[in-house]
Symmetry: C2
Subunit: 303 residues, 2 copies
């Protein structure tokens, strides 16, 4: 099966990337960028597929960005699986893959940092100080090198997609952001490169993350609007599976500010540790429609 | 004389700027950018002239950037002289001038900041906290909107030109930086939009800035290599004219780290206040050639 696969063109320098993109643009092709840290899985593949559907040149990048890892995080053990990544990229028809050495991204003397402000502060921003500064800096750098028309990110990293959206808006970059649906295992676990850290037991317990999100959605569907009540139920779900909760939040989907009542569209976000592995997940929460809520209220003599 | 002057094309939105630049680029013209805060003088005119010599489209920008002024600085009283500015730009054959409203630069919700690291820390960075963050953020934004091939800055704002150089290097921007010589009044005062704040008496006393730089150059020419000695003489010159010194420095021209001895090329920088007006100036300092230094040493029995 692999014999008739065309490998993506491997680019390792910023100059090669610039030339390749300029060629495609001169030929009138739309440039789609899929930034990754490698250790690719079906979630990344769905981003490549989306880019291929919309763009004439699909460029993946693989760069395990040191500046978005904290000092006690998993930078050194983060999975590096370049050979397998190239097979996956070939299978999905990726045109080019940019695999820079660190000095292509961070030339000697590099000290510039980019901060996007309040949307980067809560949740991941609190648990992982400096993380989004690293993300914003490397994403802006990749955007400026690759000059894409469209950039594809996974909704699994929900807050990251908001950070990238801020960058694009604040600098007026001519880039359309596509945030693609989270891809899940059949049992609900969101795909993540970090899932391969999990033992068999942890893998089973990790299902509590997606279960807690489904629980939140069900509670809201059934009429529970009070955030504290919903979050308490989510925490109980995670704790029962012996996950060490980092945060459970029901927040505004644009600002990530906490909501007291689910009286408008929200997003539920969770982060927890299983042993040394830290996983995150999220789902949009659709509030009751007005009519439904009205009926619920009418049938409740206390209201 | 003004009747046959062609006014520069006035652009007020980011979109107008983008379209204009794209047209010129498609026509094969090189784009030259001259970012200013208006209140234009012969120093700015020299930047326009340099851009015209090198580029097919010369774009000036006029934007008094609020984020590079501290809370107690002169943002509100900074001179706004748009009519005169347009005449000067027309006289020097400027093709376009981008005069954005603040929301074109800082759209609602704008919170992103750019910091360039150590070169922005000393001197102006210490005296004006946040200044270079404001500069780096707005310059990067202007670069991304205008996409120039060449950008022109004045050497009078020496540390600013280093900050801009860091931005270009760190983000791999395809922009050449031209740092153009300081333009001075016949008596030596460096041109600055802030000179118009000076009373007649202050105007006279302000000459101590350029005199202190000339003094440093003369001392080095005459064989004084000890930085502390030179800086002491410069301070005496400034103090004699009743200037309130903010800093006097002899520094490495790339890093702005202080030098103990002028045994290699250096830059002398001064900042001082006259009443409410804060002025800066700088000059390169060329050390003695080895041969000259050797002869001086040989003739000095103490060495």
């Amino acid at each position: 099966m692999h014999t008739d696969l065309k490998s993506p063109e491997l680019l390792t320098t910023a100059e090669q990337l610039r030339v390749r993109v300029a060629q495609a643009r001169a030929a009138g092709r739309k440039i789609g960028l899929v930034p990754t840290m490698g250790a690719l899985h079906a979630g990344h593949a769905s981003l490549i597929d989306a880019a291929r559907r919309e763009c004439g040149l699909t460029v993946a990048t693989i760069f395990v960005n040191p500046t978005q890892f904290g000092p006690n995080e998993d930078f050194s053990r983060y999975p590096r699986t370049l050979e397998g990544d190239l097979v996956l990229l070939a299978r999905h028809g990726t045109d080019c893959v940019f695999v820079p050495t660190p000095d292509q991204i961070y030339p000697p003397g590099f000290e510039t940092t980019v901060d996007v402000g309040s949307v980067a502060q809560p949740l991941e921003g609190t648990c992982r100080p400096g993380h989004f500064q690293g993300v914003a800096t490397v994403v802006l750098k990749l955007f400026l090198l690759a000059q894409p028309d469209v950039a594809f990110f996974g909704r699994k990293d929900y807050q990251q997609s908001l950070v990238v959206g801020c960058l694009i808006r604040d600098f007026g970059l001519p880039i359309e952001l596509r945030v693609c649906a989270t891809i899940r295992e059949p049992d609900g676990l969101a795909l993540s490169s970090r899932n391969r850290y999990l033992s068999a037991d942890e893998r089973q317990r990790a299902l509590a993350l997606s279960r807690s999100l489904a629980l939140a959605a069900r509670l809201v569907r059934e009429g529970t609007l009070d955030t504290a009540t919903i979050e308490r139920a989510m925490r109980a779900e995670l704790t029962a599976a012996q996950l060490a909760i980092e945060y459970v939040a029901l927040a505004d989907p644009e600002t990530l500010l906490p909501l007291a009542q689910i009286d408008r569209p929200a997003v539920a976000l969770v982060a927890a540790r299983l042993g040394k592995t830290r996983l995150i997940d999220n789902e949009p929460i659709t509030p009751l429609k007005n009519g439904t809520r009205l009926r619920a209220s009418l049938s409740d003599p206390r209201e």
